[in-house]
Subunit: 344 residues, 2 copies
Amino acid sequence: MSGPADRPTGVVSIKDVAAAAGVSPATVSNVLNRPERVAPATRRKVLETIDAVGYVRNASASRLRILDNYALGLLIADIENPFLRNLAQGAQETAEEYGYSVLLCDAARSTERLIRQIDFLAEQQVTGVLASGSTLPGVGDALDKLRSRGTKVVLVDEAEGTFDHCSVGVDDERGGWLVGSHLLELGRRRIAYVTIDVPFRPFDDRLAGLRRAAAQHPDSASVEIERLEVSLESLDDGGEAAAAILAGGFDAVFSANDPIAIGLYSKFVHAGVSIPEDIALIGYDDVPMASMLPVPLSSVRQPTRMLGTTATKLLIEECADDDHEHQHVAFRPSLTARTSTLGT
Amino acid sequence: MSGPADRPTGVVSIKDVAAAAGVSPATVSNVLNRPERVAPATRRKVLETIDAVGYVRNASASRLRILDNYALGLLIADIENPFLRNLAQGAQETAEEYGYSVLLCDAARSTERLIRQIDFLAEQQVTGVLASGSTLPGVGDALDKLRSRGTKVVLVDEAEGTFDHCSVGVDDERGGWLVGSHLLELGRRRIAYVTIDVPFRPFDDRLAGLRRAAAQHPDSASVEIERLEVSLESLDDGGEAAAAILAGGFDAVFSANDPIAIGLYSKFVHAGVSIPEDIALIGYDDVPMASMLPVPLSSVRQPTRMLGTTATKLLIEECADDDHEHQHVAFRPSLTARTSTLGT
DNA sequence: AAACGCTTGTAAAACGATTTAATGTTCGGC
DNA sequence: GCCGAACATTAAATCGTTTTACAAGCGTTT
């Protein structure tokens, strides 16, 4: 499958183009970067030559000279997480819109890899980084080091607001509160909160919100909330949790994310429990699958895509503006009530 | 949050380190790249200095000089697709293992963006590219151009085998055949194949395999196969398809992927149809959710992760070896039978 | 005709890391 | 005390692109 006469001899540089077009390298560079500075006839000839010899700009050389490469790093702790994935897509799109290129890094749940990716981005001299997972051990330090070198950093999925950087997050406490209010309004009183067996800030915040809703309830004395755990490694095997819930006489289950909820749903169906008559069930994240279950699952939706676009805009603004005020934006989650809590 | 006295003045280069350590830049470089060539005492001092001044290697400068940067591009047509996502993870892991860094590019279903990403990778001078989506219009040409510049390219999710590159894929025709054989063996005769409304090679291959299984059946005259479509944009709204299936008197449904199958499942449950007594249901891809449904879904599992690792190994081998024989590896899918076809 | 401005084009010096070839240094052996 | 080998270090060239400062050409104005 031979194209035109192959040019096996290494890379073709701007000098080769210059020679072939009978101009100087500087002119070729001008054609590429400030076309208005070169006469139309010359410009055309150079462009033709570029096409003919198959020249492609060497980004390394360019960046070396330029110093700002208009590249952003997008640090995703786990691309399997739909929250982060949507966020990444919003970020990618926005960056593109503003003419920035994006280096997408997935740490696949490994803290160690996340830190390696930070080092990688540092070596790549990206202008800014959009980072998730900053609360993982060691990650915050690595990001601080990055920032001290002048790289702009915006944190995502982290609503705290006292550090010297921008951040964008969702108000998880409010999300939990929404769920609590919803369940209590429906008359549920014994609520199980099912979460994972490793500490994870957002999940804890959701529980706090749930508890606040309970405390605010007029009949708060009658409300009971219990925290249960499932193993992070085997979400689909929430068997013990399901058993504990059935044995515990709960009339509602709030699970810290949708996959857990769906696993529980399946267990409940097998046990002959009807949702929501016997037990109301609600998840978090509103994954596409939630609305597709036989009993559509109530869930809390987060404006993930917008998180990504907003964070990216903040980051780009910080990269462009020298005097820049750090901002902390917290988005509000919204509850989508479906059959699994409302009934039909 | 100030660490040690910040060094706001731009980047610290190898020269700065050299000056601070009282050696020449060459020595610093040697410490970094061939530590055995420098006396232990000097080495230690240089390393300390690097740490003290916070030096980070400038990848652009390094790559410019080196020419081979041991970087691979990972071109993913759609990171939402679990098949490609798993593949990407396998690839990433393997690349890491061999000391290659990875530039992960997600085209988010846009052909135009995919092509831009190819150009981006070309400018980055990556050594090789692992590409999906090569059958999309224009992508093949862009990859050819890349290859003509000397970049190694391995195709994924593409079982064809006559071009001048390696490729790795799954035998989709066989996958369809497995499903057909399974359903026929269970006594099903009127089979609906539900796919999306845009042409997609792997999905068509699955149908072909299904038809072959039917043709091979001793009682092939009694077997009926019909192809139905759902809109790509609204998988969860396969309402018409579900209605058509119920009206059509089918006793089995094979859907081209799991999300479609799960959507249909939900519709069937609402219509009071029991699975698999009235209609057997089987999907494709074996997503985690498949086994979590109240009626666990039969599906076809592809060795996606291994696809990624194998493809990456081929790519790296091609990058390292000058004389390299192109290979075409086709993996075999396997059927996981669950309640949705077997019953209890 | 001299002076000026405007348009095009170019030579040459960066950018930071690597590497080759050469220069110092040290030290054991005689 | 001298020679050569082995070791440690370095000066300088190089990678490809961008940019600054300048030169050349040419038309217009005075």
